[in-house]
């Protein structure tokens, strides 16, 4: 008999997700993804000065404050057809890459590792054996017996205090947990170390952004980081040297720990390369502009159809019409007034029409975006596949490195095709982190060289014409393609729409009733114990969802609801 699981919102802040699954014969046979918060940012922005929009949009979300600020200034600059000084591009690019590295490290270790790693089992590990295994995989200096013993003692004293329950998403001893105690211990040690390195990455955002959370250094037209190498109150050589030391420190952790862990844990859960593919059209946008106009980018982006890398079509500039004309949003299954078919964001309407949860009708506050009328998956996997298809050397090199390491641990060749999966999204995120790190390093060098040439420009003054102008800004954010679309009339915002990564991935069925990426990825997922749907959580977490939610078990026969502890996703936004 089919059972229904409901992943329900805890709260209404930050845009919560509810996932319903029908389980039959030990696997998911039907799934619905439903955003539980209504979107209304455009109502707040209407009539405001477009130069202020970014300061409000970065309050949409608790994780990705920075990314909404970046996309917003780009949208307004695009409407004005502005050029942005090189220094400003490089400084923004450094913030983007440092934020991405921070975000990906936190996601893997703090927000999803416990889906795969049983920390209680680590107490049974032999630290000597763990050190041998870890040293065989990587020459990271902290992979030693002393560190592992210390971590085990720390963990034991934590468990002894009876506080384990604070980890809401812990599934200790679940039958789907398969790592040996020594691997669990290594992962726990790296979990601790990751806490230090994620904050190291965030220091770059703090120094350049003046403040975290909520950076303050942006402006439509550039940045507000005055460059004067002789003044203590501006961006000085000392600050830049400090940033460089932080970049170098991060690199070792990314290469010798994060990439290795993902490859090894992925190889030990190789069965999870069979699940979770879902929608295999992939969309990403180019990012990290290298010129003032946004026609050259350090990281390429584009569109891949049906998992076939040879179909790759690049997106090449901030004026790209292939991207601009391809995006539409459907409200057929969302709680908005519809009837006009899928609409382009410039023409988008946001008029609520709530109906209750209807399995075959409307069931979400999230709209369903399409790219040329097809669903598309966004995020690090889409980004990495598109960059690989574009022949981006750092991507192909780092991707091969992760696949080779995983193949060595698995004792069998793991192909690129294995990436179309739950575990593949984690692998791609690690590859992307390595690429982001190399890019961050490059951007630092470019900034230094440009300052060395005597160019101190950071800002061009925007001027708003009478009449109506339109613009869009895109950004390849940690969770994927983010775009802001704005219509400006007489210097005031007339319409504003944010099409965010979680909309692409978490959206409900579309105009053609096709399932979205979350929904499609859950099909045929195994579920060993419906009361503890760890496997459902694994697949949803692999997307790095921005949501806070808990699992409620609904037995449709007995109408009994049992709360199972929450998914532990950090927070954020899903609209």
């Amino acid at each position: 008999m089919a059972k229904r699981i409901v992943v329900d919102p805890m709260t209404r802040i930050e845009g919560h997700l509810r996932v319903d699954c029908e389980i039959d014969g030990g696997k998911v046979v039907k799934a619905w993804s439903s955003g539980q918060m209504w979107r209304g940012i455009e109502l707040i922005l209407e009539g405001r000065d477009p130069r202020d929009a970014w300061i409000f949009t970065q309050r949409i979300c608790g994780v990705c404050t920075t990314v909404h600020a970046i996309a917003s200034v780009r949208a307004v600059e695009n409407a004005l057809n502005m050029e942005i000084p090189l220094n400003a591009q490089y400084i923004r690019n450094m913030i983007i890459t440092a934020h991405g590295i921070h975000d990906h490290i936190v996601h893997f270790y703090q927000l999803s590792a416990l889906d795969w790693v049983d920390i209680v089992s680590a107490l049974q590990a032999d630290p000597v054996k763990a050190a041998q295994i870890a040293q065989s995989l990587s020459d990271w200096p902290l992979n030693n017996v002393t560190v592992f013993k210390d971590v085990q003692a720390k963990l034991q004293s934590f468990v002894n205090t009876g506080q384990l329950g604070v980890f809401a998403s812990g599934y200790w001893g679940h039958p789907a947990m398969k790592l040996p105690p020594e691997i669990n211990l290594i992962a726990v040690a790296h979990y601790f170390q990751a806490l230090d390195y994620q904050r190291t990455a965030n220091k770059i955002v703090s120094v350049l952004g003046s403040k975290t959370p909520h950076i303050q250094n942006l402006a439509v037209g550039g940045v507000t980081n005055p460059i004067n190498l002789d003044s203590q109150s501006t961006l000085t050589l000392e600050r830049l040297a400090y940033i460089k030391s932080v970049i170098d420190e991060l690199g070792d952790f990314v290469r010798k720990v994060y990439m290795v862990d993902v490859a090894a844990i992925g190889a030990m859960y190789a069965d999870w390369t069979q699940y979770g593919a879902g929608v295999i059209n992939y969309l990403s946008v180019p990012d990290l502009p290298l010129d003032t106009k946004g026609t050259q980018f350090e990281m390429p982006g584009g569109y891949i159809q049906n998992a076939d890398l040879s179909t790759f079509q690049p997106i090449t500039s901030y004026q790209d019409t292939f991207f601009k004309n391809g995006v539409k949003e459907s409200v057929k299954h969302a709680w908005y007034q519809g009837g006009k078919g899928a609409l382009h964001p410039y023409d988008g309407e946001t008029i609520p029409e709530y109906t209750d949860f209807q399995d075959d009708g409307k069931y979400s506050w999230v709209k369903a975006p399409t790219f040329y009328d097809k669903r598309a998956q966004v995020g690090p996997l889409a980004n990495v596949l598109c960059m690989a298809a574009a022949g981006h050397e750092p991507t192909t090199r780092n991707l091969q490195m992760v696949l080779d390491m995983a193949s060595a641990v698995a004792g069998a060749q793991i192909p690129v095709a294995a990436l179309h999966s739950t575990i593949g999204r984690h692998a791609a995120r690690a590859v992307r982190t390595a690429v982001l790190h190399e890019t961050l390093n490059n951007q630092w060098t470019l900034l230094m060289e440009n300052i060395g040439k005597g160019d101190y420009d950071i800002y061009n003054q925007p001027e708003f014409p009478k009449g109506e102008i339109r613009g869009f800004g895109f950004h390849e954010a940690p969770r994927g393609v983010l775009s802001h679309w704005t219509v400006i009339r007489d210097g005031k915002i007339a319409n504003y729409q944010a099409v965010v990564p979680s909309t692409w991935n978490a959206g409900p069925r579309d105009e053609a009733d096709e399932a979205g990426p979350y929904e499609a990825s859950l099909m045929d997922n195994p579920v060993a114990e419906p009361e503890k749907p760890l496997e459902v959580i694994r697949t949803i977490h692999s997307f790095d969802p921005c949501l806070a939610c808990a699992i409620h078990m609904v037995d449709t026969e007995q109408k009994e609801i049992t709360r199972v502890q929450g998914v532990g996703a950090q927070c954020g936004v899903s609209f």
């Binding site: 805890m10 709260t11 720390k154 963990l155 934590f158 950090q570």
Partner: protein
């Protein structure tokens, strides 16, 4: 928006961190949800607070607050809370009530915040004392600025936070209106 002066002091958090953190949480785009941020902005603008007390607008942040919370003597979380009392009611939670509050999910941010506190506990870097001072919201509609009811009680809530800071032995001095710090942009007032 005016250019914001660079403040590089952020780098030296290890040596210069204040023993007390007053952390305002909330989403200012959802009306009364932003009451915690509104209290921080009022404190920053209208008061001079002892150097041992750091005021932080945490927005809706989660794990990025890890470094701000670790090893503090005392953290005061100011937030919108739902305990079933009438809108505008002040709520103060201390000691054992705080973890219970986080587990019962009455605050909109508890999940993110409890993740942060769980990680700090695991690292043995928990703040020594956490107090939650909150207010029941009237409206969580998509709107910038507090409801009239909660706006009318903002000063009372701010006074409650000030009393807590003073009880810990730190000074808070109200500024004359002419001396208010107008460089603090008020995100919470429409």
């Amino acid at each position: 928006m005016d250019a914001v002066t660079q403040d590089f002091e952020v780098i030296d958090t290890e040596t210069s961190r204040a023993p007390m953190l007053v952390l305002g949480l909330g989403n200012i785009l959802l009306q009364d949800e932003g009451v915690g941020v509104a209290v921080i902005e009022r404190l920053q603008r209208r008061y001079r607070v002892a150097a041992e007390v750091e005021l932080l607008d945490g927005g809706t942040s989660g794990m990025s607050l890890l470094d701000d919370l670790r090893d503090r003597e005392h953290v005061i979380v100011v937030d919108a809370v739902r305990t079933g009392n009438p809108p505008g009611t002040e709520v103060v939670l201390r000691g054992e009530e705080v973890p219970a509050f986080l587990c019962n999910k009455v605050s909109p941010h508890q999940l993110a915040l409890s993740d942060v506190l769980a990680n700090l506990a695991l690292m043995n870097e928990s703040p020594h004392q956490v107090t939650v001072i909150g207010m029941e919201p009237l409206s969580l509609d998509t709107h910038l600025g507090l409801s009239e009811l909660v706006a009318g009680r903002l000063q009372a809530l701010t006074d409650r936070v000030i009393a807590e800071i003073k009880a810990a032995g730190y000074e808070v001095e109200a500024l004359e209106q002419a001396a208010w710090n107008n460089n603090i942009s008020l995100m919470t007032e429409a």
